[in-house]
Structure formats: C-alpha cells, structure tokens
Amino acid sequence: MTSTVVLSTGLVVMLIGLWGVLAHRNILRIIISLSLIGTGTHILIVAIGYVRNGTAPIIDRALTVAEAPARAVDPVPSALVVTAIVIGLAVTAILLAYAIRLYESKKTLSIDAFRDSKW
C-alpha cells in the first residue's frame, strides 16, 4: 500500500514533468520539467524496491545479519537510484549550459525562437 502511494506519486510527478515539457515555451521551464520527469522516475525506483514493513538494508544495531533477508528492503533499486540521480544531474547541467548559450545567441528563452533548421 505504502509503496503504491509512493509509486503513484512518482508517476504523477513524471506526468507533470511531461506536461511541462510539452506545454511550456520557456526553455528553463522545459529543463525544470525534464528534471521533474527524472525525479518522478527516481521516486518510482525507490517505491519499486520497497518491501512490506522493510527497513534500510544496512546492518547495524537495528538489523542483524540474520534477520536482514527478512526485513530489509530491496537494495538494488536504492543502489541504482544513486546512479540515476547522478546521471540526471549530469544531464541537467548540460541542458543548463546549452540554455545559457541559447540565450546568448538570440537573447530569448522561448523555444519558438529556435527553429533554424527544418524539413
């Protein structure tokens, strides 16, 4: 149940991001929307790894080695999400760098202004 709520949240965040990519004209907003899509995916990844009544897969006083397989949540999505976040950050950085250059080239951030090549 819990994870379904989180998962749905992730999906909704993705949808918001998608709508933003398609509806907003401002390049910065499009970039924000793209990273929203990424964030939604990250939420979803974490939700996928959840196991009912599970806890973080870190062996400490609260979780012994023996009971870990029964109580830990799936560690794989948690590991993957780190990678995914870093990649998302990397992509956003590149996008922003290009946004700066685009603004320099035409002094506007409206995506409609950047349709130089077509057909």
Partner: protein
C-alpha cells in the same frame, strides 16, 4: 599473461583510464595528449581486432566479469562475434577519425575517447541498467561534442536533440525499473530466459518503454526531426560519430534485447519499413548535404532494424550475422566517409559540390562511397542486401522485399543525383576545397569498405577469383593515371585482351559464344576510343572494368555471381556515361532504370532460389511450371535493360548524350548483356506451362518496341538520338526472336546480336567522327560528307545496308531467319509487324545516309576531313566481321546451332525442323529473287514518291521525312515520357508533403516522441491489455 593483456576488459580500462589521464597529460603538453589518445584508440582497436580474429576462427564468446562475482550478482559483459564486428568497426573508424579532433581542446579529446568506449560498452554489456549507464555516457559525450559547432542553428538543433534524447532515455530508465519490478532481474540473459514472466501491465509497459527508447534513439520517422537537425548542423566529424558510432551502439542494444520483444517483431519491422521508405523519400527533396546524409543514415538504421526483426528467430544467427554485419559495416564506413567528405569539401549545400570537380582522387573516393551506400558491388552492403532478400524470399515474405527495394531505389536516386551533380564543375566553383591530405581518412574508409566487401563476398559464397578480375584490372589501371591517355588506352586494351581470353578460356556452348562476341566486340569498338587524346580521368579503368565484366557475365554459374557482374556492368557504364557533363541527367535516369531492372532480377533470382533451393543458374534449366512468376520478374528486368517500349525512356538520352565512343560501346556491346540475360531467363519459361503465353506476349512487346522505336527514329534530328532509337528498334527484333523460343528463333537472335553489335558500333563511331569533324550532330546542319570522308561514308553505307535487311549483307539473313522462324511458329501478326518495321527502318536509314553524306555541304561541314585512324581501324575490323558473317553465315550459325542444341534437345519446343532445312530455304534462288524483288519494289515506291514531289532528293530530302515524321509523331504519342514524368512528379510531391512534418520546433518534436511511445504501446498489444485489464 598475453591473454590477460589481450582481454577485452582492457578496452574499458584503457578507455576510462585513458580519459581520466588526459587532464594530466594536458599538463605535459599537446603532443602527450595526441600520443596518448592515439595510443589508447590503437590499443582498443588491437584488442577488439584480436578478439574478432579469434572469434571468427571458432573461439567461444569471451565473458567479461566485473566485481569478482558471477553474472546475476555482478555486471558482466560479453564479446561474441557480432559484438566483435561492431566493436572493431567502431574502433577502426574512431582511430581513423582521430585527426579531426586532435587539434581541439583536451575536453573534446576526452569525450571522444569516452564515447568510443561507451559505444563498445553498449555493444558488450549484458546488464540492462549498465546499458542505461553506457547509453548516458554516449549521449552526454555526444552533447559535449556537439558544442564544437556553435552557430545559432547548431545550438538550437542541439537543444532539440537534448530534450528528445533525454525524454527517450527517461523512458529507458522507467522501462528498466518496471521490468525489474516484475522480475527482480537486470541481467539480460536472465531476462531473456524468464521472458514469459515479464507480463501484466507493468512488465508490458516496461518492455514497451525500453523498446521505445531504443527505437527513438535510432530516430524513427516521424519522431526524428531533432536528429535530422543535428545531422544538418553538427560538425561533420561529430555527425559521422552520431551516424556511425552512436547509432551502432543503440542498434546493437536493440539487437541483443530483441528476444524480449518477440511479440512486437512485426510492429518493429513495420515501423522500420515506414522509416526506411519515408526518410529516403524525403531525402529526394534535400538541398543540404548533411541533412541529406542524415536522412540516409536514418534510412540505413531503419533498414538494419527491419532486417534484424525480420530475421530474428531460432537458427537464424548466422544469417543475421551476415546480413546485419554486412549492412552495418557498409553503413558505418560509407556514411562516415561521406560525412567526412562533406567536412572536407566544406559545402553545406548540394549545389555547391561541383567544387569537387577537377579532383579525380576526391571524385573517385566519393564514387566508391556512394556506390557502397547504395548497396552496389563490390561492397558489403551489396552482399548483405542480397542475402537479406534471399532469406526473405525463402520465407515467402515478398512484400518486405518490395519495401526494401523501393527504399533502396529512392536512396540510390538521391545519392547518385548528388554524385552526378558534383562531378562536373561550374565556372565559379573550385573554391574552398582543401588539400588532398585531408582525404586520407576518407580513403581509409573506402579501403575498409573494399576489404569488408571482399570478406562478406567470400562469406556469401562468392569465392571465385575471376569474379573480381574486372575490378582488379580497373584498380591496376588507376595506378597509371598520369600516363598519356592513349598509352593508358593501349595498356587497358591489352589487359582486357589478356584477361578476357583468360575468362573465356574454358567456357563452352552458348556462354562461350556470348563471351567471345561480347569480348571481341567490346575490344574492337574500344579501339575507337583511342581517337581521343584528352585526359579523361577514370575513363580507361572504368572501361577495363566494363569490358572485362562483359565476358565475365556468361562465365557466371550462380545467381549471386551473375547479379554481381551484372551490377558491375551497370555501375561502370553509369560512370562512363557520366563522364560527359551534358549526360548528367540521362546518366541518372540510366542508372535508376538499371537499378529497377536489377531489383526485378534480384526478386526473380530470390524467388527462383526459394522455389528450387538452388543458387546455381542451372536451376533455371530444372525449373518447374511454378516458376512463371520468376520468368515474369526476370523478363521485366531484362526488358527494362533492353529498352523495351514503355520502359525505354532512359535509353535515347543515355545513348545520345554519353561521350561518342561510350555511346558506341553502350549500344553495340552493353545492350547485349541484357539479351544474354533474357536468354538465360527464358529457360525458365520454356519449362513452365505458362511460359508459352508469356513468350507470345514477350514477342509482341519486342515487335512493338521495334516498330515504335523505328517511328521515333525517323523523327529525330540529332544523329545520335536517331541511332539510339535505331538501337532500341533492333533490340526489339532480338527480343522477339528470343521470344520465339524455338531453335530457329534463338539462332536468329544470336545472329542478330552479332549483326547489330557490328553495325551499331560502326554507325556510332561514324557519328563520333562526324561530330568530331563538323562540331554538329544535327542532321539539319550536315550534308555532303561523302566526298571529304569517303572511308567513313563507305563504312556507314555498308553498316546501313547490313542493318536494313537489304541483300546481300548479314541483315538480310537475319530478317529472313526471323521471318521464317515466326512463320514456322505461326506468329503472323509479329511477322507482319516485322515487315512494317523494316520499312519504317528503311526510311530513317535512308535519311541518315542521304542527309549526312549527300546533298549540299552544310555550313558546319566545310572544313571536315577524314576520320581518325583509330576509329577507322575499329570500323573496318567490324566491317570485316560483317562481310564474313554475310558470306559465310555457316561460320556463325553452325556453332550457334550447336551451342543451342543441348538445351532444346531436352525440350519439346523445337518442332523437328532440321538445321539443313534452314540453310536449304535460305540459300536457294527463289529466296534471293524474292528479296531482290522486294528491294526493287521498295526502291520503285521510293522513286515514285520522289517524282510525285513528296521527296525532294536534291532539296536535302527533308519534306518527305518531315511528312513521314509527322505521321509517326501522331502514331507515337509520348505516353511513356508522360507516365514516368508523372511518377517522378508524384514522388517528389509526396516527399514534399512528408517533410512538412518537420516544423523545426523542438516542442513539436517532443510531442512526436511522446506519440511515438503511445503508438508503440497501442499497437504493441497495449490496447488489448488495457481493454482486458480494465473491465
């Protein structure tokens, strides 16, 4: 130890470690970076090359483990044979392309190294999430490299590319995680093994999202505007990297995940087909080089996708490897080479490309790349397409073959149009092209293509060394490029003579006859080529390829060999035609119709092989009655090449506008290749029950061609056009003779072949002389040349008599044989048409002789002298042939008859008429008397008309010809021209409409991307899933 050093894991260690080292090397200086990156790339190339070598010699796929654990726990990679091909190809191209980036900032070099590593990671990894990581490595490196060009257009294109690919990779991540949610697995092998458990809404959506990302990264129509913009605006070496490298990685990822998408295979193939056809269609309307190449790249990737999804299945691994490997290698090297060439030439617009003119080296490499990309021999794409079509035919998937061939034709159309326009310079061109050193990497690509072609040729079963003899001769002659033209020519003819004799040495029967006729005819007519002393770069190498291919054609024993040589003839003759600037549009038309013809042949061969399971041409003799469609396909193909009426529109232009000596070769010699093909193809019809009706149709087509072409010839004012239509007309007789499918018919056909070869050789060479000496080719400007050039006049007169069917020369015998054969079969209609056509033929031939050689001397003919010695030698050798054939017909007919015998002896078509009887009916007095009577009658008719004022002999004889010309004009409306014009206009307007999809707005492109995902979901089975899933 050595094995450890050669382990492919080191590719990644070198790639990553090398990239991390570059900032440190930067502190040591530029030279250190250059050395480092070259070393790293060379090492990666070496590693993948060694692996490829071992794998191709039967070694087991190399497992690459990481993290000190076995696969499901840790990430593993695998280097099998397909992976090694891709990796080695990418490494080679990266190594050759390194000069383009060495002068950039070190950040660029680092990205370059990492993108090469990342592509190989995508190729080798067996972990779904690791695939995502490598996909991102490749994408981000691309984003960085794209910044090398920072015009406003390039920046906005990059931004569109960025948003679209980020969207796509978001779907990949989402899909990966959804698949993980269902299966708990990330290892691709495990996922494939437990494919059945990836079900339900989540698993299905996961699969579709992953598939969507991979397809989107391959830039499918119509969700690919962002990709095209980048291809157009990026620096050419970066565009090459995207087209060759990045796409390769993505495609391979798709290939290895394909077992997961088994229920979507048809959908993938359909989408690939749509992209392949549409992108090549739109390519027709492009005016900018790199965008054109972009459309072509997308088309090639779609073809790869199409092939991969169609071939997918158990037991198809080897075929998949051959087809996919061949297509990939071909695309990689050719497209990368073309992109580099675009960068080298530096002209963004296609119409600026004549800057290349006057640089034979650049044009040669350009031609190689264009031929390769269009799937012509001897390059890997040719063999790959061949095998793809063969496999599809054996599965009975004929519609897919049609799609592939249509798309290929469109691609060849714009590629060769581009090439044709670039070869001849304009006055103001010769601007910005750089020195020849920059061509070195591009030559590297060309050489790799040739090497790849050799390998895939031998894999495809093309093992005989003689098959490449024409190409070897051409290549050898290329080395003599700086010798004077005539010396080159003599060497070329010597090589052809030696090579040709070697080729025909152990042939027998009909094949030997044809080989000897084609070789001897080609050599003799080619002597005429020596009259030109001006350097024509590439002429003699191409001539050698063509002349050696002609006798090689009868030598072929398998359908692949035949098709290979056939395409060589097409290609070399196209290049020869293109040598003359004015021939440009006609050369393109020639090539396109030749390719259509070739594709019909390909389809026919494929069906034949599917029917009989034999790749040998002997299959034609053993074909059963179900081979009728094969016969139809082959007959259409050969008829197009023979210039049958309706599909003849390529012929007059190509024959008339090519260089004068090339025209002679085309008409006299090359056209006979189609006749040989038709003979081979007709074997099929002989055996099939439908065959006889079809043969009758063929006969009618032949006679109609003869008649229409003769009428058209009368109307021409241009000598060469008149001769071109005359060739078409004569070919019609031959087609009709073959269609008779009787012993007598075939003897006639061969007799006519030899006759026409010699006659048309003489006449076209005469035309060449006239044009050379007078500077005009219009009948209206000529006249009275008999006196200044008596030898030419004599030669032409003999040729005309031999062609017209007047006794006593060979043409008479041919006509007589033809009529006898037709009467024998009861074909009275065609026989009547033969007579009619002969009469019409007489009109234009008389006009030809009369206008040129008699009457008042035209303005242009005042200073004319006798023909050059080379042409006279050639002509009089041919005349010797005519005389021998006329007076000793037995010398030709007996071997012909013997050669045909074995084939007909086994059939029942030959209705017992003996050879002696033929001679008996031909030689006696009544025959001769009848012939003379007819001639006298015709002459009388002619004189009568002249006296009654219809024909003014003295007044240049124009009014009669105008009169008859106008009648024939009414009888032959330009239906074919109009039809083909409409076809081409319709294609162009379809392309124009399709490209309006690309609005240039990045947001619209994102919308397309999203809709693409939705369509994939819906047609991949999602509608049913939602329908049943949500009651």
């Amino acid at each position: 130890m050595v094995d450890a050093l050669l382990h492919p894991l080191n590719i990644f260690i070198i790639g990553l470690g090398g990239a991390f080292l570059i900032p440190l090397l930067y502190r040591l200086g530029r030279a250190a970076i250059a050395a480092g990156v070259v070393l790293a790339l060379a090492a990666m190339t070496l590693l993948s090359g060694v692996a490829l070598w071992r794998l191709s010699h039967g070694a087991a796929p190399i497992e690459i483990l990481t993290g000190g654990a076995r696969p499901p726990l840790a990430i593993n990679l695998r280097l099998g044979l397909p992976e090694a091909i891709f990796a080695f190809g990418v490494n080679l191209f990266a190594l050759l392309g390194v000069p383009y980036i060495l002068r950039e900032k070190y950040g660029t070099i680092l990205l370059y190294l990492l993108i090469v590593m990342g592509i190989q990671g995508m190729v080798m990894t067996r972990d779904l999430f690791n695939l995502f990581v490598f996909l991102e490595i490749v994408s981000i490196a691309t984003y960085g490299l794209l910044s090398l060009r920072d015009t406003p257009a390039a920046l906005s294109a990059t931004f569109k590319y960025l948003t679209a690919t980020v969207l796509a990779s978001s779907f990949f991540l989402l899909g990966t995680m959804l698949i993980y949610a269902v299966t708990g697995l990330l290892n691709i092998d495990d996922l494939i093994a437990s494919r059945a458990s990836i079900a339900g809404p989540i698993g299905f959506a996961g699969l579709i999202f992953v598939l969507a990302c991979l397809l989107l990264e391959l830039k499918p129509f119509p969700a690919n505007g962002w990709g095209l913009d980048v291809y157009e605006t990026a620096r050419s070496d970066v565009a090459a990297m995207i087209s060759g490298g990045v796409s390769a990685g993505v495609f391979f990822a798709l290939l290895k995940l394909l077992p997961l998408f088994e229920s979507q295979l048809t959908l993938i193939a359909t989408l690939g087909a749509i992209t392949f056809v549409c992108s090549n269609l739109i390519g027709l309307r492009q005016t900018r080089t790199q965008r054109l190449l972009g459309y072509s790249s997308i088309g090639q990737m779609a073809l790869l996708t199409l092939a991969a999804s169609l071939l997918h299945g158990p037991g198809a691994e080897r075929m998949t490897l051959l087809v996919i490997g061949g297509l990939f290698v071909n695309h990689l090297f050719a497209k990368v080479g073309l992109f580099w060439l675009a960068g080298h030439v530096g002209e963004a617009r296609l119409r600026d490309w004549p800057a290349l003119a006057g640089r034979p080296g650049a044009i040669a490499v350009f031609g190689i790349l264009i031929a390769a990309i269009s799937g012509l021999p001897p390059f890997p794409g040719f063999f790959a397409k061949w095998q793809l079509v063969m496999t599809l035919a054996s599965d009975g998937r004929l519609a897919w073959i049609a799609v592939i061939l249509v798309g290929s034709l469109l691609e060849a159309a714009y590629m060769f149009r581009w090439f044709g326009r670039s070869v001849h310079g304009t006055a103001e061109a010769q601007t910005s092209a750089k020195g020849p050193v920059g061509l070195l990497p591009i030559w590297g690509m060309a050489i790799l293509l040739v090497a790849g072609g050799c390998i895939s040729g031998s894999l495809a079963g093309l093992a005989s060394p003689w098959i490449v003899a024409p190409l070897a001769a051409g290549a050898a002659l290329c080395l003599l490029w700086n010798l004077p033209a005539r010396i080159q020519g003599i060497i070329a003819l010597a090589i052809v003579l030696v090579g040709g004799l070697w080729l025909v040495r152990d042939l027998s029967g009909l094949n030997r006859l044809f080989a000897v006729i084609l070789l001897a005819g080609g050599l003799v007519v080619s002597i005429g080529c020596l009259y030109r002393a001006d350097p024509r770069p590439g002429f003699y190498p191409l001539l050698a390829v063509m002349l050696l291919s002609l006798p090689a054609l009868p030598r072929t024993t398998t359908n692949l060999e035949f098709f290979f040589v056939w395409e060589l003839i097409t290609l070399s003759s196209y290049f020869l035609i293109l040598l003359r600037r004015e021939a440009r549009p006609y050369a393109l038309r020639y090539l396109l119709f030749s390719l259509v013809a070739a594709f019909f042949l390909l389809a026919g061969f494929a069906m034949m092989q599917a029917l009989t399971g034999i790749s040998s041409l002997a299959a034609f003799r053993a074909a059963g009655p179900d081979a009728a469609p094969v016969f139809i396909l082959l007959a259409i193909g050969f008829l197009i090449k023979a210039g049958a009426v309706g599909v003849h529109v390529w012929l007059p232009g190509a024959y008339a506008e090519a260089d004068d000596d090339v025209s002679a070769l085309l008409s006299a010699v090359i056209s006979k290749a189609a006749i040989f093909g038709l003979l081979v193809g007709t074997y099929v019809a002989i055996r099939s029950e439908l065959g006889l009706d079809l043969a009758r149709l063929l006969g009618w087509i032949g006679m109609l061609t003869t008649l229409v072409a003769a009428m058209l010839a009368v109307r021409q004012d241009d000598i060469k056009r008149m001769l071109a239509y005359s060739s078409m007309s004569q070919l019609g007789y031959i087609v009709a003779a073959i269609a008779l499918m009787s012993h007598l018919g075939w003897v006639t056909a061969l007799y006519l072949v030899a006759n026409h070869l010699m006659v048309k050789g003489i006449l076209f060479l005469a035309a060449a002389v006239i044009i050379l000496r007078t500077g005009t080719r219009m009948l209206s400007g000529l006249g009275g040349l008999a006196r200044p050039m008596p030898l030419t006049f004599a030669a032409a007169a003999i040729a005309i008599v031999a062609m017209s069917g007047l006794p006593p020369l060979a043409g008479f015998g041919g006509k007589w044989l033809l009529l006898s054969a037709m009467i024998e079969k009861g074909w009275y209609g065609p026989a009547l048409m033969t007579l009619l056509a002969t009469f019409v033929g007489l009109i234009y031939m008389a006009r030809f002789m009369q206008t040129i050689f008699f009457g008042a001397r035209g303005a242009a003919t005042a200073t004319a002298g006798e023909a050059p010695i080379a042409i006279l030698v050639s002509q009089y050798l041919l005349i010797a042939g005519i005389l021998i054939m006329s007076f000793f017909p037995i010398l030709l007919i007996e071997p012909v008859s013997k050669a045909i015998d074995p084939q007909f002896a086994s059939t029942l078509v030959w209705q017992g008429m003996s050879l002696e009887l033929i001679y008996a009916t031909w030689n006696p007095v009544p025959t001769m008397t009848f012939a003379v009577a007819v001639s006298i009658l015709l002459l009388g008719l002619f004189l009568l008309m002249q006296r009654s004022g219809h024909v003014g002999m003295g007044a240049r004889g124009t009014s009669f010809y105008e009169f008859s010309g106008s009648i024939f004009a009414a009888l032959t409306p330009p239906l074919a021209i109009r039809f083909w014009g409409d076809v081409s206009a319709a294609t162009a307007s379809a392309a124009e409409r399709a490209r309006k999809l690309y609005t240039g707005n990045g947001q619209t492109y994102n919308l397309y991307v999203l809709y693409y995902v939705l369509v994939l979901y819906a047609f991949g089975g999602g509608v049913r899933l939602i329908w049943t899933g949500i009651p």
